[in-house]
Subunit: 500 residues, 2 copies
């Protein structure tokens, strides 16, 4: 067997271990009883250590080098696969085994505690646990930086979207930072006079779950290879052949669950759309989190909250959720569109509207950079949070940890460098949608009639079927003809909120 072929066998093995890891992680978030964390954490650390050991084994490095010297014999996919193997190898081997173990323990412990402590608004108990994770995060960034040659925070960003740097983020966030502070009050002002009918009373989880499944089917989610469950925070887990989407139900506000389901269905559709013949190989996997988020936001923001889509699904929503005595206007498309495009500065990122969302991301980005750099201590996070929240969104969070700096689990889980993906994803989504509209002039009327076949085909052709064969920039340019361009996102916001 040639070196490259041996590597395919090796990475298939690693992919099988990732399969186990993904399933057990999903279980931890969805099913695990509260008292089972300790035993589970030990098992997970064992698995992470094993995966680390497999990457560290000298034959992997040797095979990669040898295969690289024979790269001329490989076709395009194989060459891309080899590149991705090198990337993954570098990611896994740049952190010491000791740190992998400490990090896995610290973040599982912190993340599990966070679930309870957040509800209790208990920053005092949470802070030392988070501090341990931040300490590990700093070491991680340092170790990664040493082997990648990137700056420490860049080497963390690189984990979530290869090639994305602080420079790129600053460059693309800057126009938004200038635009949004004036734009948001303008939208709020305009919407003030729009009549809006809200849900009255409670809509049961069962009804919302039935609707969620119906909408997922409408969007083409394949339930033969996936599920919908309930978790604390909605997420998309599992593997391409077994995609596990979760949501949560607020009986007093059906809009939360519906949009989170559409969002996660975007993630899930990307996974399900990856090329089957490259299963288990790095090149056949999804891109990083920015592109992943672009797919969920394409589904949620570009399609889900659009007038055409909401027109198409209005009868379904009414059928599944409507009750006697509802105001007639509640289930009219115009009202639904207004409900789903309401702009209103708020405390909670996951509940934020499309216009204020980037500001939530920017403040997290600014804070986590400093955390990793060591110029901000965990104990000072609440104060900085309060200051930035006031500066960006006019809201105070002093003493309100649970709706402030304790609202997200990302840092607890050690995911420094992850947050920017959300806004990069929003920008990519807008850019992809614009490119799709240019090549499919009838797409709006197709969406209006409930036909998403061409949309899915376009995404499949330009994103899903490519796996990870192209880098961030090349994939974006091939799909849209442009590098990352925040102006397209800004135009989309203007069109949606001021012109419609």
């Amino acid at each position: 067997m040639k070196s490259y072929e041996k590597l395919e066998v090796k990475f298939r093995r690693l992919s099988n271990f990732s399969h186990l890891s993904a399933m057990v992680a999903w279980d931890e978030a969805v099913n695990m009883p509260t008292g089972s964390g300790e035993a589970r954490n030990e098992a997970m650390v064992e698995l992470e250590t094993l995966i680390h050991d497999e990457y560290m084994s000298p034959d992997v490095a040797e095979l990669i080098s040898r295969a690289e010297s024979e790269v001329d014999e490989l076709n395009e996919w194989q060459a891309a696969n080899l590149r991705e193997m090198r990337t993954r190898w570098l990611r896994h081997t740049s952190v010491s085994k000791d740190l992998v173990q400490r990090l896995t323990f610290a973040r599982m412990k912190c993340e599990q505690a966070w679930r309870t402590l957040r509800v209790e608004n208990n920053w005092k108990t949470f802070a030392p646990l988070l501090n341990e994770v931040v300490q590990c995060g700093r070491e991680e960034a340092q170790q990664r930086s040493e082997s990648s040659g990137l700056a420490p925070y860049d080497s963390m960003l690189d984990l979530y979207e290869e090639g994305v740097t602080e420079e790129l983020i600053d460059f693309s966030f800057e126009p938004l930072r200038k635009f949004l502070p004036n734009f948001i009050p303008e939208v709020v002002e305009k919407q003030k006079n729009e009549k809006l009918v809200y849900q009255e009373g409670l809509i049961s989880k069962d009804h919302q779950r039935a609707l969620s499944i119906k909408i997922m089917e409408f969007l083409g989610f394949n339930f033969e290879k996936g599920r919908l469950d309930t978790s604390h925070h909605p997420f998309c887990g599992g593997v391409p052949d077994d995609v596990r989407i979760t949501t949560r139900y607020s009986e007093s506000d059906f809009t939360e669950c519906l949009m989170s389901v559409i969002h996660e269905t975007g993630h899930g559709s990307y996974e399900q759309g990856l090329p089957i013949e490259w299963r288990g190989q790095p090149a056949g996997s999804a891109m990083g989190m920015a592109f992943h988020e672009s797919q969920s936001l394409f589904y949620e923001m570009q399609i889900g909250r659009s007038e055409s889509f909401l027109n198409a699904v209005t009868p379904i929503l009414k059928e599944f959720l409507g009750r006697e005595g509802d105001p007639a206007r509640l289930w009219e498309s115009e009202n639904l569109h207004r409900l789903f495009t309401r702009v209103m500065p708020g405390y909670i990122r996951v509940n934020a509207d499309e216009a204020t969302y980037p500001l939530h991301i920017m403040m997290r980005y600014e804070i986590e950079k400093e955390l990793i750099a060591g110029s901000l201590s965990v104990k000072d996070i609440p104060e900085v949070w309060d200051t930035k929240m006031y500066q960006y969104l006019g809201l105070r969070t002093e003493g309100n940890f649970k709706d402030g700096c304790m609202q997200d689990g990302h840092w607890a889980a050690g995911a420094f460098g992850y947050f920017p993906s959300y806004t990069l994803g929003a920008m990519i989504a807008a850019q992809l949608f614009q490119a799709m509209e240019e090549s499919l002039p009838n797409v709006q009327s197709e969406i209006l009639s409930g036909d998403l076949l061409n949309v899915k085909q376009w995404l499949n052709d330009h994103i899903w079927s490519k796996g990870s064969t192209l880098n961030f920039n090349d994939l974006l340019v091939k799909a849209t003809g442009d590098t990352l361009n925040s102006q397209i996102f800004i135009r989309h916001l203007k069109k949606r909120f001021l012109e419609d």
Copy 2:
């Protein structure tokens, strides 16, 4: 570190891998979408291969031998742990890697197909899949026999309950084989004149689930470290710190779910009762399937279907399941006791009553012995099944595969040697209960008043806290003062069905 200590580290690692395996196997039965089997099977085979490789690594054999030569330095628990390590090592290393992989694939494929094919009564498609599993099973028995020195089928029995042999089974089954054929008609005749009120209409799954949880709490199940879910066949999976019990709901007959929940709670209580300080070590694990089944049948048969227990829970059953218009007699203890002790020859093992159940086991035992010996072919199973079913229970199953030889998943899953555990377990349970009654003279009135503390304490002292430190015979003799004695089970049956 001493050899023994190194082995503890090694087996803790193996226990962590088993944790992952248990969780993913539970997920496969409870959650996995129908189209995800292929990818899952590959991941599971990878894990099984890894575990096999870990056992095969030469240092394990060497460490065990070296530790055995230093056994004088170990305390009682450590010495027992070392013996169990040797047993597990032997079990894992006597089968070749190639066969482990073929077997895992064949049985996962067959078991997954069985779920659909059984419903379709499709023996034709099922038979070749089962044949592959049987072929692998024969090879397995052969390989195990070669390294254990036991006869092939004995070496399979040994997997499910160490030390149990065909000879012991024949010896203990024989009295039942003589007793039951006359006993059953006598009971049926006696019960013919008993008035019995059955459930009318449907009782929703939600109500049954709420009752199930209530009853599990009543029995002392720890939900901080366990769950109740739904699956095709009820089972108890997971790990001691995260026990996953499943059931299924028949809306037209609440008795099925209730007793299966009590049964699985017996399994689960055993797991939850294992000594915490020996977590992750072989000696701290549960005994084999016969003792495991003795715990579930202790809960279901000795306690759950007893007059005292049913008296105690009657108000709960009525509160959770009762509806307006129910006949008053339905929720009276006497009626419930009759419902739960009805004897009636039927096709389905899992629905069988306590008296006919052993006959279901005997025929399976006879058939699987021949399958492993090669004296019976898969294609001939339906005919033999029909013959034995008629002989033992007076029922014909010609053409009715789904209620005949396709009703169980055990052979599909390659579990040859497993079935006898059920009846061994029933006998042990009766023997344990008798011993407990002798040492706790007030236990019946305690059960009647809903107080199970002493029962649990007795089981804990005599079974749960022992882990696997004693062998089959020693554990039984220490707990009951007697070796396996079918007469006690027979006395129990007579008392329950003819004297009460």
